[in-house]
């Protein structure tokens, strides 16, 4: 690079960073114009976590050459994290899949075939399976990384076309308990508030989330709030493991895995004992529930009275005091605004829904909801778990627009919108994820389409489920940008476009839908999923001689795939399927989304309203248009969500309940799993980026120094982790992170010795069907000193 150009770019970089800190540098602003010469900037979202940071991709001569944050975006205000800064490298990566690949038998090697051949095979195999076993013999397994248009379109073909509710997605593995929690506590899925509460909060209750590493840009906002108000803002971190998030905490409560239900009940007990609850709010807006019964405040009071701080300290493992519990409860209740944040630590549990309910209970009890600076905010791991899968109908029991599939009226609405005969969508929900892969194990499902996810690696107790995927009588299609362990079990691998190589919408944690438009060409013959679905469905209609399948794609025939096609799909979804639903997105048209730097928060029934940014607080009259149109009385808050006929918030009486597996003499340690800042999910994307791979090339297991000493384990030693299901061998990191008696392993590694889901347990929450990844029992043994290891990726 010429010296002058380098100087221009450095000055532009300095000015960019300085503008965020409010510093005025004496640098000539002409440098920015020079640095940007011949670069076109394209606005979109980062796709590497659920925060939804807005980013501009710089493109020169068709190649990505730079990235910058969007300062006006209310998600990230221009900041990005290291992980987000590297996603451009997936674009030109030589490992990208660029041709359809096929093999008749899974033991054969793949050969390249044309798209026409590939789509014919895909249609033949689905038609064959359908003729043999109807809708129950076919399945779609999608992803929180797929665009909303993709999830919506796939499920439309499955349900309206193939009459199958076997529509699932990996959010079942991470978000299902949060959905269950919101529906049962608030009567409606997704949070009431959002990120804007962070800057107004006075207390943060972070439980089961390492926000600093998993959601770094959001953590920055929490950190700023705390550092700018050190005396008036409290941060409470509740987690069995100390992490980077704990660095800003005023109080960290470490507990034995699975005992947090008792702790949350103890906090409620203190709040009631010390009369810190909001009586008026409870009287107006709350119902108390115990199982199927409606009970009253006194019953709830009596139930939580069992959880005295002293007793709970013992249950939780004696690593904090009864006064800590009292103080935590007081901070929570007395602050001018409390925001709770959590992720998988609460969700990936056999008691996941209950854990979510108990956090919501505290907010309802104290009225720490519906006002600025207060919210019960579940963070999502993937960029479009909310927008695509939860809202777009991507799970087996829900249709688009938060409609339960079992409800006839709801099915009829969808059938009408699609112009398919009434009764076309089967009334019975399909198989949830673990049931779906069990059905593959015994070949009840004969053909499955796996889109943009790698269940071979990401299912718990994966050895068991991988057997089914290896069966020759189950035909597997995968759509992805790279090979994964799952493509290695497929018959047909279809190359797709990456982000910014196609157009579509992501909906992030805070009910915000944001558009990313195509900015560069995909490599080779890679195609957007929406094109693949349309072309496949047309062939399917011919092979099954079923005009209803053709009807499902009729509105989209002939449209150009880079922009017009996804736009038409979004248009159908938002205008017809979200109208008058709680996620009303009619105002969030492509025209509006293109204008908005940071998208639109639903409900947003009109374009005019959507252009303001949409609804910051749900259920509040004057701030949420649906709270006004759905109002039934004079009260300022209107809980119009679909799941609570009494239009109240529900406080649940839930007792402490153990996880499925607790340590015993044979398997004496708890194992918990999670992800690190640099890697995301199964690493098929981040693992291809050399910088991210090298930072943490292989998984390791964190062990508390006291446990390490007892077991004779030194840093870097190779350690064997054995559960009742499988074994891993990985290096040890001796670290004051996990609480004594617990080890913690990362789950991004694809190597067979370090794939932690061979060890994890597949117990599921009975309500949400989400597996208990977070807790199981293991044996820990040193096997050798440090060994040189090589990172491993499927190539």
């Amino acid at each position: 690079m010429a010296q002058t150009r380098r100087e221009f770019i450095k000055k532009a970089a300095a000015l960019s960073a300085a503008s965020y800190a409010g510093l005025d540098l004496s640098i000539d602003r002409g440098s920015v114009a020079n640095a940007n010469e011949n670069i076109s900037w394209h606005r979109g979202s980062c796709r590497l976590c659920g925060v939804g940071c807005r980013v501009e991709l710089g493109v020169k001569n068709g190649n990505p050459v730079g990235l910058r944050g969007v300062p006006e975006a209310r998600t990230n205000f221009g900041y990005l994290c290291m992980k987000g800064m590297h996603f451009w490298k997936c674009m030109g990566h030589p490992d990208r899949l660029v041709k359809p690949l096929y093999r008749k038998k899974k033991t054969d090697t793949f050969k390249e075939i044309s798209w026409d051949e590939a789509l014919n095979i895909a249609a033949d195999e689905f038609a064959k399976a359908h003729k043999e076993g109807g809708g129950e013999a076919v399945a779609y397994y999608g992803s929180g990384q797929a665009l909303t248009e993709e999830t919506y379109f796939f499920q439309k073909i499955m349900r309206g076309g193939l009459q199958s509710n076997n529509v699932e997605g990996n959010p079942r593995l991470c978000m299902a308990s949060a959905v269950g929690g919101y529906l049962t506590s608030f009567g409606a899925d997704e949070p009431i508030g959002g990120y804007s509460d962070i800057e107004k909060a006075h207390c943060f209750f972070i439980i089961g989330s390492n926000t600093a590493e998993a959601h770094p840009v959001l953590f920055r906002r929490i950190m700023r709030r705390k550092l700018d108000n050190p005396d008036t803002v409290k941060v409470i971190n509740v987690d069995p493991r100390l992490s980077q998030t704990s660095r800003i905490a005023d109080k960290h409560l470490q507990f034995k895995p699975g005992t947090d239900l008792a702790l949350l009940n103890a906090m409620a007990n203190v709040i009631i004992e010390e009369k810190l609850y909001d009586e008026d709010f409870l009287n107006k807006y709350t119902t108390f529930k115990s199982g199927k019964e409606t009970v009253d405040f006194e019953a709830y009071k009596a139930q939580v009275a069992e959880y005295t701080p002293e007793k709970v300290v013992t249950i939780c493992g004696n690593s904090f005091s009864a006064d800590d519990v009292r103080e935590t409860a007081r901070w929570f209740a007395n602050s001018k605004g409390t925001v709770s944040l959590w992720t998988m630590g609460l969700n990936q549990r056999k008691q996941g829904v209950w854990a979510n309910n108990l956090v919501h209970n505290l907010h309802i009890l104290t009225g720490q909801l519906l006002k600025d600076g207060a919210d019960s905010l579940s963070l999502t791991g993937q960029p479009n778990a909310c927008g695509g899968v939860r809202e777009g109908g991507g799970l087996c029991h829900i249709l688009p627009g938060h409609r339960p599939v079992a409800n006839e009226k709801m099915r009829t609405q969808v059938e009408k919108a699609w112009g398919v005969p009434q009764g076309r969508i089967p009334p019975k929900p399909g198989l949830h994820t673990m049931a779906m892969f069990s059905a593959i194990n015994d070949a009840r499902i004969k053909a499955i389409w796996i889109n943009c996810t790698s269940p071979v690696q990401s299912l718990p107790n994966c050895n068991l489920y991988n057997k089914g995927m290896a069966r020759e009588d189950v035909f597997i299609i995968t759509t992805d940008i790279f090979h994964t362990l799952t493509t290695q079990t497929a018959n047909l691998v279809l190359p797709t476009c990456f982000h910014f190589e196609k157009t579509g919408v992501y909906g992030c944690t805070e009910r915000r839908s944001q558009l990313t438009k195509k900015a560069i060409e995909p490599p080779g013959d890679a195609k957007p999923e929406v094109w693949i679905i349309r072309e496949w469905a047309r062939k399917l209609s011919e092979k099954l001689n079923d005009p209803v399948i053709a009807q499902c794609i009729k509105p989209f025939e002939g449209l150009e795939e880079g922009y017009e096609l996804p736009k038409a799909i979004w248009n159908e979804y938002s205008q017809k399927l979200t109208a008058h639903r709680d996620n009303d997105l009619r105002g969030a048209t492509y025209e509006v989304l293109e204008q908005m730097k940071d998208g639109v928060q639903w409900p947003a029934p009109t374009e005019e309203y959507a252009l303001t940014g949409g609804t910051v607080k749900k259920f509040v009259k004057g701030r949420d248009p649906m709270a006004d149109t759905e109002s039934k009385d004079d009260l300022p808050y209107q809980f119009y969500g679909p799941a609570h006929p009494d239009r109240k918030l529900w406080i649940w009486l839930r007792d402490q309940a153990d996880p499925e597996e607790i340590p015993d003499s044979e398997y004496p340690f708890y194992l918990s799993t999670g992800r690190i800042i640099d890697h995301w999910h199964t690493m098929s994307m981040t693992g291809r980026v050399p910088e991210l791979l090298r930072a943490n090339p292989y998984a390791h297991v964190e062990i508390n120094p006291k446990d390490a000493q007892k077991l004779g384990i030194k840093p870097g030693d190779m350690v064997e982790l054995t559960s009742r299901r499988g074994v891993n061998i990985m290096p040890a990191k001796v670290y004051e992170g996990p609480v004594e008696g617990m080890v913690f392993a990362y789950w991004h590694d694809q190597h067979k010795d370090r794939m932690i889901n061979k060890v994890t347990k597949d117990a599921i929450d009975p309500g949400s069907k989400e597996p208990e990844f977070k807790i199981c029992a293991v044996r820990v043994k040193r096997v050798s000193g440090p060994q040189p290891l090589k990172p491993y990726l499927v190539g």
Partner: protein, 98 residues
Amino acid sequence: MPISGVVISCSPGHRYTVIKNLNAYKSVEIHGADHRGNIVTVLETDSSEEMEKLIERLNNHDHILNIGMTYLNIEDEAERMARGETTTKPFGFKAPSV
């Protein structure tokens, strides 16, 4: 030569210690700091890989709480990649034996 604009944040009380520490890095240019613990920097390294290592080291610093990136230019690397001069395939992984 990737170049990035980065706001490094620490608790205000540790600002001077952190700045002193950052001064020791050749690839970190400090452009200013404010009383809130925000330090405005430009990072310039020989490769993205070096930048990553640098950020990783900074992230592990006791008093650094967050590394907020605002701008990244990688045009040199991108051009070399487009010309096929450098490869982003450093791993040489073999296909799995399934």
